[in-house]
């Protein structure tokens, strides 16, 4: 009894197809890609009456079987290809009660493929308000099918739909419209050439723009015996077919579908007037953008800090409770911090998709495109690119994932490729510390130089994104439809369930899709940073201990300890004078001595860590690239930080802290240590105006983020684009930093 029925859900965009899918499958769903392409594949299992199960595929939204995009051709291919393991036993066409006429066009096409087809009329809850009445029984008879009147919002009609699916064998498979009448002789010769094939199916294979099913297409091309038609003739026939179908639909709806024109229709018109208004439209959009930005930037910092601290604590716990050794280090520093580096992105991704799904579900996103289309067009971007580009200012990872809403592949690819240029929050710690080091504190016209530099860096990021979009628009030769037709759907209150599913599914796809790559690279980076070729690495402890015995701690650490002790002594004496502590002079000396010892031990560990990093594989790599980064004004220490910060840009600061053996995470301490650092090659301060600007520009342009690369790999389904991004952005960053340093030095 456990035979699975293959069911395909198909329908126009904005008919609530995904809501029906969610209602049928619940959380039993899986989202992936169709093999080799970037079209999203959603499938799930639905339990039906009498122990039957249905395997349900949610096909990409389409207005008809005449494909104009890859997404649509996926739907058509599945419906036509009987050998596909997912070829449906049953098709369910989802329609929206308000746009029934247009939705039925697709229905009649699928019905004509002789696949059992159920019609779902969704959004039934709106009928009363819109004054719509449908004679379901008569419509079922005229369309020769079964109809389920459904409201996913009110959860009505789903049980009946399940009954109908289980009974699919009783459905008629007779076609609705006889297509052959549009060109009888042509179809006659076609049938004579391919006597075994279904005529309407042949017709679809012949007329599709998108090159699918190469075998069958060639079959048709090779056959010279029937009279072929030119492209424009075929197009005329497609038009005739469309008109013919509309005639059929109009004649049916005349008898079965009534709209009371006096019913309220005002809300959409009023909302449109405000939301697409020349001034208010932009203002409202701006406020929404700011809210989204605030959410991913600000609100998510609370859970992010929590995640950060929890993973640090977990790593500490592993280190103290497991026996020391390679495996413990691998778990504590490699795996745990790798997983932490994945989980840390979840709040930002969840917040961004919460907002995006609200915008999409409510119908507002189409208005954004309407407002922004003209502005973004010269850059080869879509109106929908605005949301990813702005949210890229918080983090490029959710931003790249958000490009899924852009239907046009070329516009989507360009958006994905340029988004990492926008100044993400991980660049901020790097910017702040370098600006503090090299940009003077003065003011000009009331604006601080430091603040102005930061603002300039943000502008440079946007500028780089926009200009590279323009270039890519010229360079990328991707065939995509050049026309623009966009439906402006009705406004709807978003369904909480759909919003939650989107957030859940996006988070899941990041963690399991890109997470693998991020974890692998973090473990590699950890390995390279905690192992070395030479005895120097192995014997770091004894070498440093001997050095400290012979020469004492480094000058910087000695000075720091002396300062700390002086402060401590004053505070202690102060407390004694105020009678907070009652201790004798001997105890004071002891207390100071033990504090001194504590500081000494800490400094020793830092110097060992620094020596270890210097002699690790990464340290050697940093030294190896020194000749390359020298013309940019960097030394091998910065070279090491460039390599480690590939994990995430903010690692730059903590790596320098380790190299300079500064124990504290205190930004001021790191800053003081950095400003004292001399460049061994030039004998000038390492962080001066020239090298500082060069570093700032390098971080502005370079693709220093493995997580972004991982998500781009996932979203474009190939290594080609992330690698191109890595090479071009890094090369560009290098050249700009080089020029800046050479001019300023």
């Amino acid at each position: 009894m456990s035979k699975q029925i293959n069911v395909a859900l198909i329908g126009n965009p904005n008919t609530g197809k995904t809501s029906v899918f969610n209602q049928l499958t619940g959380l039993n769903q899986k989202v992936g890609n169709y093999p080799g392409i970037t079209v999203e594949k959603k499938e799930g299992i639905c339990k039906l009456p009498r122990g039957v199960k249905a395997h349900i595929i949610d096909l990409p939204g389409t207005y008809s079987l005449n494909t104009t995009s890859l997404d649509e051709s996926v739907a058509v291919e599945l419906l036509l290809n009987k050998n596909d393991k997912d070829h449906p036993d049953l098709a369910i066409v989802i329609s929206d009660v308000e746009n029934l006429k247009r939705n039925l066009l697709l229905f009649t096409q699928i019905k004509d493929l002789k696949i059992p087809t159920i019609l779902v009329i969704n959004m039934a809850d709106r009928m009363a308000r819109k004054g719509i009445s449908v004679d379901i029984e008569l419509l079922e008879k005229k369309l020769d099918t079964k109809i389920a009147l459904v409201s996913t919002r009110k959860k009505i009609g789903i049980e009946r739909l399940k009954e109908l699916i289980a009974d699919y064998k009783n459905l008629s498979i007779a076609p609705n419209v006889d297509t052959t009448v549009i060109a009888p002789e042509y179809f006659k010769s076609l049938q004579e050439t391919f006597p075994k094939e279904d005529l309407y199916k042949l017709w679809l294979v012949i007329t599709q723009d998108v090159n699918f099913m190469p075998l069958e297409k060639n079959l048709v091309k090779d056959a010279s015996s029937f009279n072929t038609k030119s492209k424009s003739e075929l197009k005329r026939l497609q038009q005739k077919e469309t008109i013919k179908r509309y005639q059929f639909i109009n004649s049916i709806l005349k008898e079965t579908y009534k709209v009371d024109i006096n019913a309220a229709k005002g809300i959409k018109a009023t909302l449109d007037k405000i939301l697409t208004h020349k001034i208010f439209g932009y203002l409202i959009f701006l406020v929404i953008l700011m809210t989204i930005f605030q959410a991913i930037y600000d609100w998510s910092s609370i859970p992010m800090d929590f995640i950060d601290e929890s993973f640090a604590a977990a790593s500490e716990w592993v280190k103290t409770s497991l026996p020391p050794g390679m495996l413990t280090d691998l778990i504590a520093e490699g795996i745990l911090s790798g997983i932490g580096g994945i989980v840390i992105f979840i709040p930002q991704i969840a917040f961004l998709f919460l907002f995006i799904s609200l915008l999409e579900e409510s119908g507002y996103m189409s208005r954004v495109v309407f407002l922004m289309d003209r502005v973004m067009r010269p850059f080869g971007l879509s109106g929908k690119s605005v949301v990813p580009l702005i949210s890229g200012t918080a983090c490029a990872i959710p931003a790249v994932m958000a490009t899924r809403t852009i239907e046009n592949w070329k516009e989507r690819l360009i958006t994905i490729l340029v988004t990492p240029f926008t100044t993400c929050s991980a660049r901020l710690p790097v910017y702040l510390i370098i600006i503090a080091l090299v940009i003077p504190e003065g003011r000009f016209l009331g604006l601080g130089y430091q603040a102005m530099t930061l603002m300039l860096l943000y502008l440079i990021g946007f500028g780089a994104a926009i200009i590279s979009a323009m270039l890519l628009n010229k360079v990328l030769k991707i065939k995509s439809r050049t026309f623009f037709v966009m439906e402006m759907p009705n406004y709807k209150l978003p369904l909480l369930k759909n919003v939650i599913y989107t957030v859940w599914e996006k988070t899941k796809s990041f963690v399991f899709g890109a997470g693998k790559i991020i974890l692998a690279i973090s473990i590699i980076l950890w390995f390279l940073g905690s192992n070395g070729f030479t005895d120097k690495y192995e014997n770091a402890e004894s070498i440093i201990e001997k050095r400290i015995q012979d020469e004492g701690l480094s000058a910087f650490n000695q000075e720091n300890i002396a300062n700390d002790i002086a402060v401590y002594e004053i505070a202690l004496n102060d407390s004694i004078a105020k009678n907070v502590y009652k201790i004798g002079p001997e105890q004071v000396t002891d207390s100071i001595k033990s504090y001194q010892k504590e500081l000494f031990e800490k400094a020793k560990h830092q110097e060992i860590a620094s020596f270890k990093l210097e002699n690790s594989y990464i340290g050697n790599m940093g030294k190896a690239i020194e000749p390359m980064v020298k013309p940019l004004g960097y030394d091998w220490k910065i070279g090491i930080a460039l390599i480690t910060s590939f994990a995430a840009r903010e690692v730059f600061v903590s790596t320098l802290a380790t190299i300079y053996s500064v124990g504290s995470d205190e930004e001021d301490t790191i800053k003081n240590r950095m400003s004292a650092e001399m460049n061994a090659n030039t004998n000038k301060p390492l962080f001066n105006l020239a090298s500082g600007i060069s570093l700032l520009l390098f971080y502005a342009f370079a693709m220093q983020c493995m997580s972004t690369l991982a998500i781009v790999k996932r979203e474009t389904n190939s290594w080609k684009w992330p690698l191109a991004q890595l090479v071009f952005m890094t090369l560009f960053a290098y050249i700009v930093a080089l020029i800046a340093y050479q001019i300023l030095k």
Binding site: N66, N99, K101, R102, K235, R236, R374, M488
Partner: protein, 81 residues
């Protein structure tokens, strides 16, 4: 009066005239942009592009360049607001 969608004022309506076969993408026809159907200009985006129209009950946005190609017979003259 003969005109095109791009020449409509907000709220004005027209009926689509016959047009040559290769003029419009099939997708526009499927959405209801067929000869004889009524079109209303609902809203114009800033910079006068794209245009938001209601044709045959479908609410769609198209670019000005395409709207210029779709010829209409104007049906009623609503004084512009």
């Amino acid at each position: 009066m003969r005109t095109s969608i791009a020449h409509l004022k907000r709220g004005q309506k027209g009926v689509i005239r016959e047009f040559p076969d290769d003029l419009l993408p099939i997708k526009l026809l499927e959405l209801g942009c067929l000869p004889g159907n009524e079109v209303e200009l609902v809203q114009v985006a800033p910079f006068k592009d794209p245009l938001y129209i209601n044709v045959n009950g479908s609410h769609i946005a198209i670019r000005r360049s395409m709207a210029l190609k779709i010829e209409l017979d104007l049906i009623e003259d609503i004084p512009s607001i």
